[in-house]
Every structure is written in C-alpha cells, then in structure tokens.
Symmetry: C2
Subunit: 479 residues, 2 copies
Amino acid sequence: MQKNKLTGTDHKYLQIAGSLEQMIHNDILKIGDKLPSVRMLSDEYGISMGTAFQAYYYLEGKGLIESRPKSGYYVRFNQKRFPALPAAAKPEAVAETISVDEMVAAVFKKLSATDITNLALAAPAMELIPAAKLNKSLVHAFRHSASSCLNYEDVQGNLELRKQVARMAFNWGGKVNANEVVITAGCMEALSLSLQTVTRPGDTVAIESPTFFGIFQVMQSLGLHVIEIPTDAVTGIDLNYLEQAIKQSNIKACVFVPSFNNPLGCCMPDENKKALVELITKHRIPLIEDDIYGELYFGQHRPRCCKTYDTEGWVMYCSSVSKSLAPGYRIGWTIPGRFKEQFIRLKMRHTISGVTLTQHTMAHFLGIGRFDYHLKKLRSALHTQQLRYVQGIIDHFPADTKISRPQGGFVLWLELNKKVNTFQLYQEAIKYQVSVAPGRIFSMRDRYSNYMRIGYGQPWNDAVERGIRILGSLAKKLS
Amino acid sequence: MQKNKLTGTDHKYLQIAGSLEQMIHNDILKIGDKLPSVRMLSDEYGISMGTAFQAYYYLEGKGLIESRPKSGYYVRFNQKRFPALPAAAKPEAVAETISVDEMVAAVFKKLSATDITNLALAAPAMELIPAAKLNKSLVHAFRHSASSCLNYEDVQGNLELRKQVARMAFNWGGKVNANEVVITAGCMEALSLSLQTVTRPGDTVAIESPTFFGIFQVMQSLGLHVIEIPTDAVTGIDLNYLEQAIKQSNIKACVFVPSFNNPLGCCMPDENKKALVELITKHRIPLIEDDIYGELYFGQHRPRCCKTYDTEGWVMYCSSVSKSLAPGYRIGWTIPGRFKEQFIRLKMRHTISGVTLTQHTMAHFLGIGRFDYHLKKLRSALHTQQLRYVQGIIDHFPADTKISRPQGGFVLWLELNKKVNTFQLYQEAIKYQVSVAPGRIFSMRDRYSNYMRIGYGQPWNDAVERGIRILGSLAKKLS
C-alpha cells in the first residue's frame, strides 16, 4: 500500500482528520464504512498512535464518525443530508371500527418465495442466525428430558426458561422473578391474549400511528375500536395527545412499541416512558408493551422499558425471540403484572400449553450464555447493515426522500414526495421481483400512502443493491 | 406343565369350552386376560387344532371371549354383571352464561406431580409412546431443512404434513386434499379458532352433556352461551332433542365429539352421524367436530366421521396427535370446509404461524408410516388396559356401580350410588395420592355429582391397582 505523506505546518492530527473529512464529504468513505484501525492509521501516515487517536477523537467530536465497542471507528450517519425527519401525522381522535386491509395479504402472501428480493420483511436473514449452536441445544434438550419433551409443558411455561427471561429483565432494570413470567407462542400470542385479558368486544384501545399492522388486525378480529395516537420519529408517542384522548374517550388499554417502534424505529426517552407509566397508572389503563425489538439496540446500553417503571402492575410486558433468533420456534413471553392469573387461564383455555421441545431448547441456549453472545454479534451486524442500506437509499432515491434514523431494530421508514403512491410503487416493483412494505398498511386510516418501510435484516449484497436501485428508480419515475 | 385330560362322552370342544367358561365365571380368567393360543390349547388338552378352534368359536358365540386380529383370544367384557349403562341426564334446553368452574383448576393443577397416581388424565402413559423413533424424525427434520426449521412456517401449515393429514382422512372415508387442511397448535387451538370463526360473543352453541370441560371453558372465555344436549352412553347425541333445541333457540354452532366422546366413550352410529350432518346442513349451522379420539378404536374398522358425510362444507373437522403420540408437540389440524379462509386469517392474526420444527418432524414420522404402525400397537394396548381396569373396578367398587363400555379412547365413565358425591370422593382420594376426575366438571350445570371419569392410559400396575382399590373403598364408605 502506498503511504500517505504529511506536509505543512498544521497539527498533524488536523491534517489527517481534514483529509478523512474530505473523503467522507466526497462519498469515498460512505456511511457505515469501517475506518482503518488506529494502528493501521499510525502506520499508514507515519504518525504516533496518539496522533491517530487524536484525529479520530476530532472527527467523532464533529459527529462524522463513531466508535463502536470492540469493533473500531465507522463513518456515521450524516445528518446534514437529511435535515428533515418524516413528519408525524396528526390523526383525529375518533374511535372507529377497523376495516379489513387487503394490502397486507397482497404484500405478505409471498413470504416464502425465494425468487424475490424481499425488503418488506422486518426479520433477520437466516445467515445471521447461529443455527448449528441452536441445534446443539435442541439435541441436548430432548436427550436430557425424561419424556423426550413429548409430554405437556406447564401451562405457565417451562420453569428454566422463565428463570432466563427473568434474568434478561435485569438488563432493562426489571426486578422480575420466574413466577411472574408466562411463556407464549411468540410475541403475537402474548399480545393477543393480553388484549383478550383486559378488553371486551366493543372496547376502545390506543395504538401508535404508524404501527405494525398485526397489532390492529388482531384488534379487528377481537371486535375492538382503535384510536391512533401521533408518534414522533424520535421521541415516540405524543403524551399530551394521549392524555387528551384518555380524557375524551373511554380507552380500555394501550398497545405501544416504545423501543424501536415498527415502522418508525423511534425509541421513547426514559423520562417519557416513566411519564407514560405514571399516566396509565393514574387512569388505571393497562399498557400492553411490545418490546420485541428492545434487545436490538445500537447504542452503549439497552433501553429501559415501560415495565421498568411499573410499580403497580399495570404494564403487560411482551417480547419474543422471533426477531433475534428463531421465528419458527414460536417462543415469546409476557410479564403481565396484576393480570397474570387471568392471562394463564386464557392461555390454558385457548391452547392448553406451549410446545415443550422448543421451550427446553431455548432454556438451554439462554442458560449457557449463547443468546447474549449471539445478540452482541447481531446488533453489530444490523448496525452495519442499516448504515449501508441508508447509503444505498441516498445513492438511488430522489433527493427529497426523508429517512428515519433508528437506533435499533430492523427497519427504515421513508417519506417520499407526496405524489408517490407507495402501494402503486410496490405493485410496479413486484414485477421486478422486489418487494417492499407500502406505508398505507401501517395505519387503519388513509395515511402514509407516500411512505414505505424497508427492512435491512439481510446483509448488503448485489441483490439488495439491485432492489434498492429499482425502488429508487420507480420512486423517481412516480414523483 | 401338567396336562388337562379329557374324559366322558361330550363333544370334546364343548368339554373344553365348559371348563374355560367355568374359569371365567369364577374369575380365574379375568376380563381382558389373554387366552392360550390355539396351538397351546391343542397341545395342553391333547386335541386337534380344529377342536381347539371349535371351542373358541363356541365361547365367542356365547359372547364370553373375543378374537383380536393378529393377537389371539381374550376374555370379553361381561355384560351380565352390569345390566344398566349410566343414564343420560335430560337437561332443560335453557341457554345460560357459563360460570367459572373452580373444580377443574383444583383437579388439574397437579398434572405434573409424579407422586400421585393420576387416574384423572385422558392421555397415554409415556411408556406407550415411541419416543426414540420420533426423535429420529426430529433429527431428520432439522438436518434436512435449509433453515434448520428456525424460520416461519407457512400460516396454513407445513405442506407435507397437510398431505399426510389428507392421506389419513382416507381411513374415515374423507376425500380431502392438502389445500383443505390447516395445521393448528393442538386440537384445542383448532376448536378455539373454529369457534371464533363462526360465532360472536353472546351467541348460543350446542354441546354434548356430559362433555370435556375444556370445550365449555373456552366458550366461557369467548362470551358464548351454551345449550347442553343429552347424550346417550351408546348412541351419542339425542338427535330429536337437538332438532327441538334448534327450533327453539338460535343455535349458531355445535361442538360435538361424535367418536368416543369424552367422558362417555360413546360412538355415534354412522347413520346418526349422517343424520346429524343433514340436520345441521339444512339449518346452515356449523358443526365443529372434535375427532381427537377417532383413531383409537378397538373394533375392526375406524369409525366414520361427520365430515365423511359433509357435502356442503358445514363441518369443521378438528383433531390432533396429542392423545396418541406427542401432546407436547402441540400439533393439531382442522379441515374447516367453507370457513377455511376466515380460519386461516384468524390464525395468522392470533399467532402468525405454528412451530416449524414439530410440524416437519411429524410430517416425516407420518410420511414413513411410523404413525400407522404405532397406532396399531397403541390401540391394542389401550384395549387390554381398558378390560383390566374394568376388572379392577368390578373387584373393588360397590356392586351397584354402573360403567360405560367404550369401544375406543381412554376413559371409563362410572355412575355411582346417588349418595356418593364424587368431588368429595376426589378430595378424600387425593389425601392418599390418588387423583380422579369428578363427574361434576363435565357439565356447566349441577349434574353428574355421583359420576366419575377414570382414565386408563397407564398400563395396569400395582400403583394403578392401589388407586382403583382406594377409590372403590371410598365409594363404598360414601354410599
């Protein structure tokens, strides 16, 4: 490699920083690219490691790069190019009966098709999953079970697995014991049974807007009315709006995704989560907290949960391993607070108990620390992928495209020019074997038709680049 | 072995038959005992095999013994000792909101306790399950899946498994293809989602009386009203009564167990099943058919199903492997007829999809013919166990005890003297580590308090004999 030689009288670190800044500015170093290690930089420029560190500190201070623990320095998301975040819609607080959404069926019916570049998904690619390690836990599970895991499991769920879930809660400041945990068939069953525990048909429930369509579709099936609460792309639920809605409507429950909301990716600040719990506790309204993305944070610390601040048991915490490890295992859980007994009774009545084998397997996998290890790697991979996808969108989408800046999770939320109908775009893209989630499916009302959700669970590759390029071209054509 | 010598002038076969008859009469040969093979008999008495056959034909003709294919001759259930079958209650056809049943929780909360002789269960003992063979299919499943069965399964269920379910339907005269089948988390989810597909809260549903408490408990959770239809211990549902109830009440669905009803054990004759389907079709009332015990028949042929006679898609057929193979796998299925699309949508909304791994495993186990082979052995074992349990009850229970004569399934239904309160008996028995299901839990109304259900899923052994003896002694004490 040809070495860079330093000249002139500036501080050496400033010269180096300036040259790196220029490379970032000119897109030679792209968002998400890894920078040389400090040792390599010192070697390349013939400077001390201290000077190399100084150059990186300087760029980090300017917000151009960021360090990641045990990994190194990376080009940071460049806010200057995207001054505006996608705007939050301000829906009227009118309760309504939910209408069936045919679009969801259209977009997600081809889930298993292998000839499609599927950017509609919010799930990790299989290559990010440690299948062989998990299979070792599986073999261990059935070999060490007296009944080969063929008999009924405890209705509340496998005790060892519940202990592990309680242990994980410690990471978000939860003081939980195994007896407070109930295992479910994925997060979806946890949400569905939580809703059935605290509502009756005809009741009104508050959700975020935009939000994952599965949340209002299950409400539709349960005969519930829905109020959509405006949600900010950075701070989440509009608490003032929610408080007003509570005063005006007889809200019987809230279902929110406070950490890395799908599709916005926003994470409510701790103080907002605390305030939210105080608000719902004051009004004795159960909060069903969907924390399915909570472990997939890119920052230094796991975000707290609403459940962290729940002193009176009004929060029904729900999560699963479906987004981080094994969707096909259907392992989720809930910490239903004061509603535990009713929840368990409902679970027994609808499905008796969960699958014994996958619960034993997961208990073992968590117990030997494999899940923690896997999550560290997964977070790092997702962060890198997100930055690479963002760069791809910058490269190929219209210049007026606005984009979310999630600090965790799987999805980017894009706001396009108002002229672009993203369902129409979806229909065009599918002709090229590219799928994307149109914004319209994230609300029960006629909203977000110029938005789209792009999942970055697949590592960047030629097929993904082609997909992003095609979506970008179609967006340009339609705008 | 000392040989028996024949003397006198009678036909030899009559002498031998007479001596066996005497042994049966004196309880030397007990119900369910296997008789010597024809070869052994001929050897023992020094007669030809033809004469030995003639002796057995004669006893079979008198109803004292029975032949079982590929197994030999057995002492038959002796009807003379139990002239009366348990009587069917004739409840009034008044719809009512179901009240919570605390007894069920009391009886079934200790399901996993190993220090209890549990005669309350309606499930096979683990020693009757081919765990090693099933584990081979499990290993095959995850090794031959591209994603190690970690990814989401098709919402409708694994295609290979659906093909196998369709193939099994052929045995009961069903002409079904894989596209008509939906996989569920056990039979309970199939029943629960079927009910949610065709009813709304406040609707009225007809069930058998007595019936499995899980059926009316899930209805309670769904806010449904229930009409109990009298059910005969031999012929099942009283069709005239049902027709009157349909005329008088606005029945929105029926949930029946037409083959080997739990707890009665009765199996509706084919012509009654046909008439039932004609009745519900005429009135356009969905029939949710719970066929979970259908494969566990003791006769020559598998009983037909109501679904066999369903030409217009009003029957929602539900079954599972939970009673015959692996309750902990939570594999069930439904053939929902005209309600298929709504059923699949509900399933997706409540749980997204089922567990991939156990579906693949079961598809393989069924595909290689292992399930058919296992069922043959299981039926034979259960039949033997039933006869042995009946003998034990005869030996230890009060003489006025009436007992059901199921031709399949897992359970005996006992009617005791009216003075005996079987919940009280249960409470006494549990002090001796013996559990049994009191009759009261098989109805929502105050019925069957002098009945009890005894499961014979466990092979006869000293612990079971002790359990039956204790139950019998308590019954004598209380009557």
